[in-house]
Each structure stands twice: as structure tokens, then as C-alpha cells.
Symmetry: C2
Subunit: 261 residues, 2 copies
DNA sequence: CGGTCTCTTGAGCAGAGTCAATGAACGTGG
DNA sequence: CCACGTTCATTGACTCTGCTCAAGAGACCG
């Protein structure tokens, strides 16, 4: 499989994000999860990191290992993945620019799944130990990190429902709706009608279908005028129609998740 | 459906756990997630709670509401659940005695799923606001709560893999293996070979199958000598055999999850 | 411009669903 | 303590969604 590249892919120089900007992007992300004081922000600004660009397929976390670094996605996409013993792959989550990859492992000794780059991806890597320290040192940051992990959990739950109880057409549509809204929330796409680079095999691995069946479903959705297909990109044409066809309700994404007091 | 009882089922008096014991049980649970200082334990001991026993089917959390109380399971079982628009139910998680029900909603304003009692269940209910306060006041407690939520996330991920990429027989077997180990870890069953009270419809809703098909699969597993069936209980007879047939690997349960430093 | 991925399409198959009817188990009230 | 109603489990017959296998066509990249 083309996605099985070794861990240390060559870092690239181009596209590098200015160092102090990286910290501000991280802070902006955490502030969407919980309000931060200036002192909290300074703790984030003090975190050292290494920036690198990795090829599609590069492993960022391997199942069974203890992650020493936590990547923060600057550009490109990454995904969580796990295999059955007979080699079937299930994609568990997709991470967009502005997502921290490894809050899920922050206090667990061994990762229970793999994380790979979906496309060529630029990440800033923090030391997991540093992250644990700021978690323990600041109540506001621990709240933000915890909230972020809880929102990812909410998405896991919706995926269980999606895969367990919806038919193929709804599953695919639901996934596309989710990406559209998350891309918009991350400031990557201006409208909910957008496109996303994933092969049909990857789409299938994310919703528990084969690539052959995904191809047929996408063809059907295109014939209905709901989506448009161009290579490994899918574009949503009719947001309302796709949302209705997919039983999609955005509540689980918790865009307005801050609890009252 | 018999499970649709109103929120406030009558509380019962019998089986009541002595009040100070409840706090110690909570502390013991949190200590399996992170070490606590005496000061942390005292904060837990200071938390007021209400004890009540609810019938099977009673809702502990409703989707779309803001939970004001967080239940802690003293005896019996509870489960998370979510419905599609055409009424199909997916069970997302099962909670055992010693589990906190609502860390998943601690910092989210609206619950994205329902929680119901699976059997008659005794719970201690804490005020969500109190819990948030101790989270913010103690780094050790916030670490314990966060770790607990991360382990539940790890189980969500495994369920996505289970439902998305395993056949019916493995799905059911996998679920039974998981319960066996979690029951043992919770000190409820002495060996991994134990039984669990769930109807076949509930089993099906947990793994994305119909009750009819679950019935056929259980019959098959019984014929193979892997499990024994008695009414709504299933008992594992051949642990090794079932584990192999189910592609089960306990790593995702993170029984030894405490990270080094 | 050749090789490798990816996508498409057909044909046949099978795992799981649906519908329906019967039987067993259980809890409760008379 | 028995009768009854309800819930749960079982089984058969039939259907269908989604899988497998396979071949060929694009598309993309170096």
C-alpha cells in the first residue's frame, strides 16, 4: 500500500510558517475550547516545537508506542487508523489544519491506534511532556484540552451511529457534511459547500464500505445532483439536499460548546 | 418500547450504600486514573450527592439538554444511546458500577446523546457544576477525569473498528470479551469468563446488527462451545477460543494506562 | 511516456435484514 | 399459587445491500 512509508519522511523547507505565528494559531484554537488568560497564552508561547513537512502516508503515531511528540496540523490533513488482524483498515478520525493530533494520548502510556498524514502535511511537533506540564500547571488550559478531546469523542460517537445504523448512501453523505462544516469552522472553506481530497478507498475505510461500493454511491449522489466528482475530490452541490439525505445534524460537532458557568 | 420511561423514576430505599462509602468508591475509581493527594481526596469527600435507584430504561441524560447532574454508577448498568431520524437505535457505550456517567459532557453545553439505565441501577448524582469546580481546582483530579474520558474515547475507537470492519460473529464475540475484562477490572467478576445481562436486541443495537441475526450468531457460538446462553445472560465458556474468534486485543482498554512521568 | 494509483463497471455471491409466526421466560396481581 | 400479559428468543422463507473478483480505463507523476 502506498501509504506505508517509514516514520521519518524528509522535512521540507518551503511553506514554513513563521515560528511565533504557530503559537498564535495554537492559542486561537485553544480559545475556541475555553477562554485563556494572558498568563496561559504565555505558557503556550513558551513551548518549543519543531516544524516539519511530511509526505502523504507518513506515520505520526504508531499503535503500541508511547508518543513522545504531539503534532499540531498547520496545513494538510491527517487521520487516525486501526487495522483488524486480517488487515482490514478502519479510519477513525480525520484531522484538519488547526487540530492537535495527540490530546487523545496525553495521559495514556501506549497509543491504541495509528495516525498518518492523509496528504502532504505540515505539522508543528511539541514534546508530549511539555504539553502535560502546561495541562497540570493551568486550569484554563486543562479545561481547553479536555474540552477539545471531548468534542473529538462526540465525533467518535456519531461515527459509531453512522457506521452502525445508516445505509451506505447516508454514511458517505454524512461524512461529506461533517467535513464541510468542520472545514468552514476551521476557516478553510467559506461555505458549507466545498471539496475534500480523499480517495474512494479512504472514504470507504472511514465509513465501513469497500471502495467499489463507494464508487457506486458517489455516482448515485452525482446523478441526483447532490455532489460533483472530480478525481479524488468531491464537491457538495446541494447542501440542503445532501443534509436531508444523510440524516445530518450538526449538534454533535459542538460549535457552540462552551458551558454556561 | 419498554425502555421509554419518564426521567424521574421512583427512588427506592433498599440497597442504599452508606454515604461516606460512596465517596471512597469514587476516590478509588479516580485513583485508577491518576494518583491523588490527600487534599484532592478531601475535595471529593466534600462533594454533596443524592443517591437513588432507577428502573431499567430510565433516562439519566437526554440528548439536547444541558446535564445538571453527573451520575456515578453504584450498582447495575447504564448505556449511552443515539437514534437515527428513522428510529434505528445505536448503543454507543455501556457503563458498569464504578463508572462516572457524565465526564463526556462536563464542558459541553448540550448532550449529543442519551444515557439510560440498562438494568435497575443505583446511582449517586453529583452536581455537574461541583464537578467542574474540583476539575478546575485540582490538577490531579483534572488529570484523572481527563484520563478517564480518554479511555472511554479509546473504547469508542475500538467500537468504530469493530462495527466498521468485522463480521457479525466477531463483533458479538468482541463485545463479550470487552465486558468480561471490564467486569473483572471493576472487581465484579473474578475471572474473564463471566455473564452479562443484555437482551439480544440490545446486543444488536450495540454492534449494528438486528436481534434476529444476533440470535443466530449466539446459537452458532454456542454450538462451537465458545459461549453458553441462558435467557438474557451470556456466559463465556472458552476464553481463548472466543478471543481468537473475535480478533480481541485488550490494549485499547488501557488497564495499565498511567503514563511514565 | 511508462508505471502506478485510482476509478469504473459487470457478474455473481453472501452476510445480514425483513416479515411473520411460534414458543419460552418472567413478573404481577388476583 | 396459578393465570395472564408482556417481553424476549427462535426459526423459516425470502429479499437486498454491499462484497468479491476481475478487467479495463483514466489520471497523475516523475
Amino acid at each position: 500500500m502506498a501509504l506505508d512509508r517509514p516514520y521519518s519522511a524528509p522535512a521540507r523547507k518551503r511553506g514554513r510558517v513563521e515560528s511565533h505565528i504557530v503559537h498564535e494559531i495554537m492559542i486561537r484554537k485553544l480559545e475556541t475550547r475555553a477562554p485563556l488568560e494572558e498568563a496561559d497564552k504565555d505558557m503556550i508561547r513558551a513551548l518549543p516545537f519543531v516544524q516539519r513537512e511530511v509526505e502523504a502516508g507518513t506515520y505520526l503515531v504508531r499503535e503500541g508506542t508511547t508518543p513522545q511528540r504531539c503534532a499540531f496540523v498547520l496545513s494538510g490533513y491527517a487521520f487516525r487508523q486501526k487495522l483488524t488482524s486480517d488487515g482490514a483498515r478502519q479510519i477513525l478520525a480525520v484531522m484538519l489544519p488547526g487540530d492537535f493530533v495527540d490530546f487523545q494520548n496525553l495521559f495514556l502510556s501506549e497509543s491504541d491506534h495509528n495516525v498518518q498524514a492523509l496528504t502532504r502535511t505540515r505539522v508543528a511537533e511539541l514534546a508530549t511532556g511539555d504539553l502535560r506540564q502546561v495541562f497540570l500547571a493551568s486550569a484554563a488550559i486543562s479545561k481547553a484540552i479536555n474540552t477539545d478531546a471531548l468534542i473529538e469523542s462526540a465525533i467518535f460517537r456519531e461515527w459509531i451511529l453512522n457506521i452502525g445504523r445508516r445505509d451506505g448512501r447516508s454514511r458517505i453523505g454524512h461524512l461529506l457534511c461533517e467535513f464541510a462544516l468542520r472545514l468552514r469552522a476551521a476557516g478553510i472553506a467559506a461555505s458549507p459547500v466545498y471539496e475534500f481530497p480523499m480517495t474512494q478507498e479512504q472514504l470507504g475505510d472511514a465509513v465501513g464500505l469497500t471502495s467499489v461500493h463507494v464508487s457506486r454511491i458517489l455516482k448515485g449522489l452525482a446523478l441526483e445532483g447532490l455532489v460533483e466528482r472530480r478525481g479524488r475530490f468531491v464537491r457538495i452541490l446541494d447542501w440542503e439536499g445532501l443534509r436531508d439525505a444523510s440524516d445530518f445534524n450538526e449538534n454533535y460537532l459542538h460549535f457552540r460548546q462552551l458551558q454556561p458557568a
